[in-house]
Amino acid sequence: MTEAIDQASTADNGLMIEMADVHKWYGDFHVLRNINLEVQKGERIVICGPSGSGKSTMIRCINRLEEHQRGRISISGVELTGDLKNIERIRREVGMVFQHFNLFPHLTVLENLALAPIWVRKTPRAEAEEIAMNYLERVKIPEQAGKYPGQLSGGQQQRVAIARSLCMNPQIMLFDEPTSALDPEMIKEVLDVMVELAQDGMTMLCVTHEMGFAKTVANRVIFMDEGQIIEENEPEEFFTRPQHDRTKLFLSQILEH
């Protein structure tokens, strides 16, 4: 966590995500309003904001777990439309880690990891399991391969969930409050894995309130409120000189303790 990541590594050699004038409603409720966001390859973006501000909804639009109703979202140049084949192609390239892990409880850890490569990428089983073991070693729990998710701690489960996404070799990783459901002593082990991932140059969008993580890892911090992007800045600027009143209020509330 402590070693800062070279900010210059933000090579702008490709637009990975492009959101233009994205709007979304739940019934009459306008959850996302005029979202404009561009993410370059290798960029690491932290999204924060009060609960109900639409940050989860926004990243869930990127892999179409939520449908946007206006505007345009493109992932590596492919536009997200209602076309199912297209959506499945994009989901293969976009990994997602959830707040509640969402591991498959009826499968062992190894089966959780190998499932998508086998059934989506058509990787032969032996090869898929080899890939799975590699990633389990990367998240430092290869010895848990034969266990069921219910037998692991929260931190271990979340690391398995990260490894499960990585097995699909995604180009983008989305994190939806990955540490919010964890006991405090387990947060670090998950953040360490995420920092390593960032050092390897993964394009990451992360909804989190871990401000330490944001300071060390993020290229950009985005603050959302009431479905809009209120402020967007480099972490240094964002934390020391927030521009907007609502950002100041939010930061003072979460940094007070």
Binding site: L65, F98, F104, H106, W119
Partner: protein, 364 residues
């Protein structure tokens, strides 16, 4: 740990062992003691005469009523009419076909009771798919040089098992499809499934069977006539699949939304997420409900007697009115009840074993 101030002592005699157990459970209060005495007296007055009748004073061997002299149960009757109870009116020369089916079924089911049996999955798959086809050719006949046996001659335990097996094997997949359809996001499919389920659940099975045997032929064009047994089977399958669908829907609803989302986020399409992620969990959750439906189905097969098919109960009924045997109705009905109980109880035990085996100790 060794220098405890209060070393552990043996518990008082009155709280452990058989004495302790009896004190706690049978004689804890005066009322409880009274109830215990009453219950013992009741069991004594009821069970002792029953066992005297059914076991000690019963007649077991012989060939006709003259062997039943001791005043107890006349099990000779069951022995003598066993062929009717098992094969119905199947031609005697063709009994081997039914026997072969029974033997195959037994051989195919045995591996399912072992933890690790080679190719267990494939054997199970064959039992549910290839085996029914084989049974069809064996029992119906008319091909491979086998003499055709029309379904009117089927009966007894064999008919009961055919109805139950086909009902179970067909109702489960149809029920799964209906349950998925009812939760579909496509309004047309959802409406069709809801209408189907509510229609079939809203009518009694008896009326379904009546319609299948009496009304359906009226609507079919002249010359088109298909087998009465087949019509009854289709009725039973569609009826039970509606129930099955609702049981499975309960399981689907219990799966957290996160599981669907995780499956989709990995790029799994609808059918893959359902078959690999959602259904294995949902079906496991509702094993008790599924087996409940199976057991109900097994026992409901006996309703085919109202359309003139003689299942095991009906064949027993037809045998007890035979004047050559005095009053043997008690023996007959006990035998029929016991036959049903054996199968239903086995299913129940199997489902419990299955639940224990599939328990992976997870919480979500």
């Amino acid at each position: 740990m060794t220098d405890l101030k209060n070393p552990s002592l043996a518990p008082p005699v009155t709280t452990v062992g058989i004495m302790g157990w009896m004190r706690q459970n049978l004689f804890s209060t005066p009322l409880n003691s009274g109830l215990t005495v009453l219950a013992v007296a009741f069991i004594y007055l009821l069970l002792v005469p029953f066992f005297q009748w059914a076991v000690w004073n019963a007649d077991w061997t012989g060939s006709d009523q003259s062997a039943c002299t001791s005043g107890g149960a006349c099990w000779v009757f069951i022995n003598a009419r066993m062929e009717l109870f098992i094969y119905g009116f199947f031609p005697t020369s063709e009994y081997w076909r039914v026997d072969l089916v029974f033997a195959l079924l037994a051989v195919l089911i045995v591996p399912q009771f072992f933890e690790r049996f080679p190719h267990k999955g494939w054997i199970g798959f064959f039992t549910l798919t290839g085996f029914p086809v084989l049974v069809y050719f064996l029992l119906v006949g008319g091909s491979f040089g086998l003499e055709p046996v029309e379904s009117g001659k089927w009966g007894g335990l064999m008919l009961t098992l055919v109805l139950a097996f086909v009902g179970i094997v067909a109702a489960l997949p149809i029920g799964i499809l209906l349950a998925l359809g009812r939760r579909s996001e496509m309004p047309v499919i959802r409406t069709i499934c809801v209408c189907f389920i509510e229609l079939w659940r809203g009518v009694p099975l008896i009326s379904v069977l009546f319609m299948a045997s009496v009304m359906l032929p009226l609507f079919l064009p002249d010359g088109v006539n298909f087998d009465k047994l087949l019509r009854a089977l289709i009725g039973i399958v569609l009826f039970q699949s509606a129930y099955m669908a609702e049981v499975i829907r309960g399981g689907l609803q219990a799966i957290p939304k996160g599981q669907y989302e995780a499956a989709r986020a990995l790029g799994l399409g609808y059918w893959k997420s359902m078959s690999l992620i959602i259904l294995p969990q949902a079906l496991k959750l509702v094993i008790p409900g599924i087996v409940n439906t199976f057991i109900a189905l097994f026992k409901d097969t006996t309703l085919v007697l109202i359309i003139g098919l003689l299942d095991i109960l009906a064949s027993v009924q037809s045998a007890i009115v035979d004047p050559a045997w005095g009053s043997v109705s008690t023996e007959g009905y006990l035998f029929a009840a016991f036959s049903f109980w054996i199968f239903c109880f086995s299913m129940s035990r199997y489902s419990q074993a299955l639940e224990r085996k599939l328990e992976t100790g997870y919480q979500r």
